[in-house]
């Protein structure tokens, strides 16, 4: 019952917060207890997952709508269990960084907790329809969080986010149902574990269309160029905690879906389409990176850097193109790693940006400067995130990008080289931004500002710890991902990460 507890604890806490959290203190206390409990539970799942045994563990299976063989089916494998942990980590950071929310705190924390539950559900559902339900459920809290507690053009951004995601999921739902009804009667199932390794030829429509249906939904979420335009708006106008969740876990739903469903269920189509994906990946990496340079809003800057960094994920997955190479599993592993590391790193960047904005009330880069003088701790957090983001060795960002490039180089030499140039650009924009906002001469206008309080430091620490742990000892994740990636590689007829 561990996984059900992980999904429903935030729901129960959300109800409690709404009922009891009239005051800010009480609301955040209930939310904090809930997310700490969640983190403990996700650590238990992570530590309790037996990598020697592998496969799907903590399985919970009940009939839900038996007429269509739709099940309440929860399970984790080596691919999803790190995502579950990531969600646990970011959930705690999101509550800590919301410590000062005063406006309607009970509703705010309620939506934040519902969002937690929905995203968690996406990562542990092994039934396609259940997966879809959680996927859609996440829209409602996001819409309210952005439009009610956001800034700027928040209504526009919330609606844009909603419509983009909904449009993507429209294709996904059609793909799911087509897949189900294509199977011979009696074998019809939405069970992802049972669908793995199945021959996907002879569907009601050409298999490529079903593949594309899923791909569109995940490409919107990841996001891939040219479906990324909702992301900068949503990020910029969302409250800090929501930006953290959005960058930290919501984008990961897209990458996870690509690995789990597009690569896992449709290896043949993935092999054919991977070259195109590689092109999209390179464009996303470079386009995102160039656009970052032109941004004057700190949050928009981080948002576009996410587009660029998610391009690496796509590139890693594309390493299976045309049959792949002996190192393709390294590429896939790197893509999964990038999902985890980008979650913590960009989460931390948004925390630091949020803390600066909370104090200076501006995110306009030309107005800022020399903030390291007034707020050294926040500047330190920003720099750790920035350096990890540009792939400094000893941080987790380095490991992920290295694995991706190793995996893809043999398959796409040129694309890898071009994408690697994205790392150079990242170094450029990160350092340049840090120089313009944090360093340089002291600005008297910001003299009254205070540095991070203990709760803010706690929020940053929650994210800094995994960055260094994974950076110094990547095996803790790569072994886990390998267990999850190997069965997917088997679908491509390629060797696993271990072999």
């Amino acid at each position: 019952m561990l996984l059900s507890t992980i999904v429903f604890l935030p729901i129960v806490a959300a109800v409690l917060v709404l009922a009891l959290g009239r005051t800010q203190q009480r609301a955040r206390l209930i939310a904090l207890i809930a997310v700490v409990g969640e983190l403990v539970l996700t650590l238990m799942a992570f530590a309790g997952y037996d990598t020697d045994a592998g496969g799907y563990q903590f399985v919970e299976r009940f009939d839900w709508i038996s007429a269509f063989n739709i099940q309440y089916l929860l399970a984790v494998d080596g691919l999803s269990v790190p995502m579950v942990l990531l969600n646990g980590i970011l959930g705690l950071a999101a509550v800590l960084v919301s410590w000062n929310v005063k406006e309607r705190p009970n509703q705010y924390y309620m939506w934040l907790l519902v969002l937690r539950a929905a995203v968690m559900g996406v990562f542990i559902s092994m039934d396609l329809i259940l997966f879809f339900v959680f996927w859609e459920l996440e829209l409602v809290p996001m819409f309210f969080l952005i439009s009610l507690w956001g800034t700027g053009r928040r209504e526009y951004s919330a609606m844009k986010f909603l419509i983009y995601t909904f449009l993507g999921s429209a294709f996904m739902l059609t793909a799911m149902l087509t897949l189900y009804f294509s199977l011979p009667d009696g074998e019809r199932t939405f069970d992802i574990m049972a669908l793995m390794g199945r021959d996907m030829s002879g569907l009601l429509v050409p298999t490529g269309l079903v593949f594309a249906g899923f791909l569109i939904a995940f490409a919107v979420k990841l996001p891939m160029f040219p479906l990324h335009t909702w992301l900068p708006d949503a990020h910029t106008d969302a409250p800090t905690a929501v930006s953290v969740m959005l960058a930290g876990v919501l984008l990961k739903m897209g990458g996870y879906g690509l690995l789990r469903i597009n690569a896992g269920l449709f290896p043949e189509q993935m092999t054919d389409f991977a070259s195109t994906l590689a092109v999209i990946a390179v464009v996303s990496v470079l386009y995102g990176a160039f656009i970052v340079m032109r941004q004057t809003d700190l949050k928009r800057m981080v948002a576009y850097s996410s587009v660029s960094h998610m391009g690496f994920v796509t590139l890693g997955i594309a390493s299976v193109a045309g049959g792949g190479s002996a190192l393709s599993s390294v590429g896939l592993n790197g893509a999964a790693m990038q999902l985890f590391t980008h979650g913590t790193i960009t989460g931390l960047l948004f925390v630091a940006v949020g803390l600066i904005y909370e104090r200076a009330h501006t995110r306009h880069i030309p107005d800022l400067g020399g903030l390291a003088k007034q707020m050294p701790l926040i500047a330190l957090g920003f720099m750790i995130a920035g350096l990890a983001s540009l792939g400094l060795p000893t941080t987790s960002g380095f490991v992920a990008e290295l694995l991706i490039f190793l995996g893809t180089f043999q398959v796409f030499g040129l694309a890898t080289a071009l994408a690697a140039f994205g790392v150079v650009l990242a170094a450029g924009y990160i350092l340049w931004t840090a120089q313009r906002t944090l360093f340089g001469p002291r600005v008297a206008r910001w003299d009254g500002l205070t540095d991070a309080r203990p709760v803010d430091v706690a929020a940053m620490l929650v994210l800094i710890i995994p960055i260094f742990v994974v950076g110094l000892y990547p095996k803790v994740l790569t072994d886990m991902f390998a267990v999850g990636i190997d069965p997917i590689m088997a679908g491509f007829g390629l060797a696993g990460f271990g072999g």
Partner: protein, 499 residues
């Protein structure tokens, strides 16, 4: 023709309902307290409900039975709609008690007319021949003309009544003309026959001319005219024009009645006519309904975006929802293990849609009854002025959009399932993409409630009996959304009666 005790037993729900109408109107003459009259009307509905349960038990034990020499076919399909009508009536009486007090001194007649019309709606799904279809339809429609014009001092209301009168008359004439063609071509009025010596329309079609749709020009003209006639009642494009005008002008409870009860019965008779009566020509009408479904939902959704009046918006939404339901009508599979899928999904969605739409109408009724403003902008600030009503309306609108965990999601899921099962992947895709369009205007209303401030901070109060009705419908949205299995099974058993 002999009328036996058995015939009277089989129509006992309708007979008691008509008796109740008489009692309510008569009581009003001698009792001053209108609350008692309403209470009698609500509690009195238990009598036809109990009669219905008796009939249900009986036909479950002995099988489908006919009354009045086959004029009425009493099966689980018909009973499904009878219970739906009764439930809608009871909820409508509870919620509109406040609203209807403006009809004094004709308040009791208002209930009486609703009860008479409902008797027609309850006979309609049981119709075994075309004459019964026509008579039941008129019994259902004529009181509605008076009801639509009930606020006779309000111009829009009388306009709505007049529109409904004219269009009802036209559609009835078209329908009768179509029936005449069908009779002329096949020599029978029977929709269903259990007597080989007296075959039904369908038997006459089997040996038709294969080169002409429906096996003969006369039959084709008859079917097209009948479809047009029913199209008015279904709000199907291109016969939808009256819907927004009448919804806007008629008293809100009447609009709710039209949107839910009247539409359900119209679908019932269409299903009966095509699935039971004209099933040999399914290949022809299935495609016709698929195209009409796609056009209907698209027109409804696209035009709804531009609406500024919330009742007109619900009118266009009703057109769009009719389009979704037509998907299920089109999804004819003839034989095979899932042949009942299309029918079953329409029945399920009509039930779920009743809960959702009634919630929406009840909230609008409660709010506009206090504010007197039925523009969408009039809902501004309701998140604060009427927090619970706003949540319920938001829930209903999410349900209409089809977002989980509402019954709207599972309802659409089943409809699209049926479409794909019938090899109409394109229709399912049109359906899900339409849902995306609809999200824009449904969520737009939510946005007004929560993000627009109102000058008037006065709280909206709601009488307890209206709360009771809202509690039932809102609970149904969630309960049926999370545990759809029970209603689905009931719908399946009802659907099997037609195959």
């Amino acid at each position: 023709m002999n009328i036996g005790a058995r015939d009277l037993f089989l129509i006992s729900p309708e007979l008691t309902l008509v008796a109740l109408a008489g009692v309510v109107v008569a009581l009003d003459l001698v009792i001053r307290r209108k609350g008692i009259v309403i209470a009698v009307a609500v509690v009195g509905l238990l009598v036809p409900a109990i009669a219905g349960v008796n009939v249900w038990n009986d036909i479950r034990a002995t099988g489908v039975d006919t009354a009045f020499n086959g004029a009425l076919v009493v099966d689980e399909f018909a009973l499904y709609f009878k219970f739906l009508t009764l439930a809608v009536l009871a909820l409508l009486f509870l919620s509109s008690a406040d609203y209807a007090s403006r009809f004094q001194p004709f308040q009791a007649e208002f209930y009486g007319l609703l009860l008479f019309s409902s008797a027609g709606l309850m006979l309609l799904p049981a119709a075994g021949d075309l004459i019964t279809v026509y008579i039941s339809l008129e019994l259902a429609s004529l009181p509605v003309i008076a009801l639509a014009a009930y606020e006779k001092m309000r111009l829009k209301s009388t306009e709505a009544g007049l529109k409904y009168l004219v269009l009802s008359a036209v559609s009835s004439a078209v329908l009768l003309y179509g029936f005449a063609f069908l009779y002329g071509a096949t020599g029978t009025l029977r929709l269903i026959s259990f007597d080989p010596a007296d075959p039904a329309i369908g038997h006459m079609l089997i040996n038709g001319d294969a080169s002409v749709p429906f096996g003969g020009v006369a039959v084709m003209v008859g079917v097209v005219l009948a479809t047009a006639g029913f199209g008015f009642k279904l709000s199907m494009v291109p016969f939808q024009m009256w819907t927004p005008d009448v919804y806007e002008g008629a008293p809100t409870p009447v609009a709710a009645y039209l949107a839910v009860a009247s539409k359900a019965a119209a679908f019932a008779v269409v299903l009966r006519l095509f699935y039971a009566g004209l099933d040999p020509a399914a290949a022809d009408w299935s495609l016709m309904f698929a195209v009409l479904a796609a056009i209907t939902m698209t027109v409804g959704n696209v035009v709804a975006i531009a609406q500024t009046n919330v009742k007109r918006l619900l009118g266009y939404s009703a057109i769009a929802q009719a389009g979704y339901m037509l998907v299920g009508v089109a999804a004819y599979e003839g034989s095979g293990p899932d042949a009942e899928l299309g029918l079953e999904s329409v029945l399920f969605h009509l039930g779920g849609y009743a809960a959702i739409n009634l919630t929406a109408f009840f909230v609008i009724m409660a709010i506009t009854n206090r504010t007197g403003d039925d523009s969408i902008e009039g809902l501004a600030g309701m998140g604060k002025r009427a927090p619970i009503l706003a949540v319920l309306l938001a829930l209903a609108l999410l349900g209409l959009t089809g977002i989980p965990p509402t019954v709207g999601f599972v309802g659409k899921l089943f409809l699209f399932n049926a479409a794909i099962n019938a090899d109409m992947v394109w229709l399912a895709l049109v359906g899900v993409l339409n849902s995306v369009v609809s999200a824009y205007y449904y969520v737009g209303v939510v946005r007004v409630m929560y993000l627009r401030e109102s000058d008037n901070p006065a709280r909206i109060t709601v009488p307890p009996y209206a709360w009771a009705a809202l509690a039932v419908t809102a609970a149904a949205i969630l309960v049926l959304g999370l545990w759809p299995g029970g209603l689905l099974e009931v719908a399946r058993l009802a659907a099997l009666d037609l195959l």
